[in-house]
Amino acid sequence: MRIERIRKINEIPANDAVDLTLIDPLISKYKGKKGNLIPILQGAQHIFGYIPKEAFVKISEETGLKLSDMYGVATFYAQFRLKPVGKHIIKVCHGTACHVQNANLITEALQEYLEVLDGKTTEDRLFTLESVACLGCCSLAPAMMIGDDTFAKLTGKEAVNIVKNIKLKESN
């Protein structure tokens, strides 16, 4: 499952204090440039980890981009998230090669360890579990990616150990 990333209308927004001044440099860099919509959204997500509603409004007011266009783009591409996710996103590859090498077992093992379903975030907001189409590491299937690090030829147990180690580092 892709990350559950679009906020439902009646869902209570995350109670996060968002420092909107952080996106000022982004706005001045891209303001008025053609084709700027996606890079601005990518930049905002890079800063906040997701795109808060307030950021949409501010970007729209200061660049003149239409809110409807921005929302349309943000919900079209799988990369954009409209609600907060875990600090670490665990992308378990479910490409063809990983699929035939039993990637399902990796997802199942992680679901059990993290006690969340695929696509969801753990309660401590440390991890989000996601299934992605292909990481391009097919020759070393099954694979997963956390941050910019790729892990290959996994078993369910190894995948869990990798996540355990990250958790350990975080608690220190």
Binding site: K34, G35, I38, Q42, A97, H99, V100, F151
Partner: protein
Amino acid sequence: MEKTKVIVGLGSCGIAAGAQKTYLKIESLMNTDKLDFDLKKTSCIGMCFREPLVEIVDKNGSYLYGNVDEKRIEEILDKHIKKNEPIKEYVVATKLFETEDNKFFDAQVKIALRHCGMIDPESIEDFESQNGYEAIKKIAKEKISYDTVIKSILDSGLRGRGGGGFSTGMKWKFARNNKSDEKYIICNADEGDPGAFMDRSLLEGDPHAVLEGMIIGAYAIGATDGVIYCRAEYPLAIKRLNIAIEQAQKKGYLGNNILGIEGFNFDIHIKEGAGAFVCGEETALIASVEGERGMPRKRPPFPAESGLWRKPTNINNVETFANIPWIIYNGASEYAKYGTEKSKGTKVFALAGKINHSGLVEVPMGITIRDIIFKLGGGIPNGKKFKAVQLGGPSGGCIPEFLADTVVDYDSVNATGAIMGSGGMVVMDEDTCMVDIAKFFLNFTQAESCGKCTFCRIGTKRMLEILERITEGKGKHEDIEKLEELAVQIKDNSLCGLGQTAPNPVLTTLKYFRDEYEAHIFAKKCPAKACKSLLTYEIIPDKCTGCTICAVKCPVKAISGERKQIHFINQEVCIKCGDCYSRCKFEAISLQ
């Protein structure tokens, strides 16, 4: 005398296999043991099944060591570097003596991948030392006209390596013939086919070759600006491209009046994709670069006439661009020597799935699929039987074992119902269920359909629902006919390649593996024993010793029985996890 070189393969795959740790270990050993050699980095050489790879080049020649973890590198440095005794059993490829894996390289012809695993991708000097940027220099020095460049590409017979297979030279000619003050050249690096990774490998291993190909293309069509649209899942490729672009700008390969060619001003930018498979389709890609939802547009007008920002635009794939400098430098006829009548040159294939030698290979067109899988790929692991190969990703199809002697060229592959696509080959053995594979691809295309065309948006969803119920044992008698009917309608009524080819995996599996569909629907059995809902685990009374291990470990307590008594699985409780099956030491559990 030249210093000994130690070269570590640091592509994404190498790093995932632990090459970074090996590299750091070498660095620390160099310091502590005061070793004297040049430590260098390179990228993936294609031999992913032996990663991490370390090459040592000494006065005698080159030795490629495989599976080099931290422990093994200590041993290798100790023997090979300190005592000058290469460790033969760890060498996977060399020209100096016979090794088991030498033949992996012997059957290959490397044109697109000529530098991958040979040079440091972050060094422009390394690239230049291997005839890099010599093709564009040749054009500048000999004042070769754009017409001649286009003619060379036409004569070479190069066809689009992204999957379409359209003549690259023709594409360039159309873009050249459209007059405009601005023109664009785009490199499609939105490699989305699950199972294909040659573009990632090329961008990580030889980014300058792609840049040089784009520069030559820009010269030929008269482009003023270049864009590389790269998927965001490839952070290392993006990093190395950025380094390469900066280096090329500093050396004057990008910028104004490039290499003294009056009026040839050209620069390249990277656009990061945002995660949409459909953006590999050229008009959707253009929409995405413009900052819109990546939905395909109607053609004509073709991008060559009205593309990015409504200006003439030429789009080629990464592998296509990587071939260009070689063709210009070595001549079109040299390239056309390889291949078949209508498909010239070489093609890179990504081997993955149930195959011994997974990795990247580049072979002349015209080789048979069987040779790729068994000669280069080393056959199927664990003595299993080869069943089929999926070619062309979600748009392609499954080629069964009995057609394995099909030669790879665009037309022969199309005749089987599959497509060449970008060259991803996922090999399947007897344990792979073909209905499950069809469902897997439909699941993918259904999720990635942009939603513009009704037949693609809803039709793929309906097909997926049918496949889901078949694999769950709830298939109905009329399901096969329904699938075929929907497939035809989706093909006929979709605007872009995604929808037009989405039913292919279902159609090819129905064509070659119809009996498997029928077994699922009528007998409620999965012949490959892959579809969970159709399995039953049972205890074979004669073999059960009553060791209790299965009963203790069963997560849902579905197994009962006293110690030293025959056990029993309650089918109503069993969740078919297979835990008992893999744990039983006496093979007393049967799987039906």
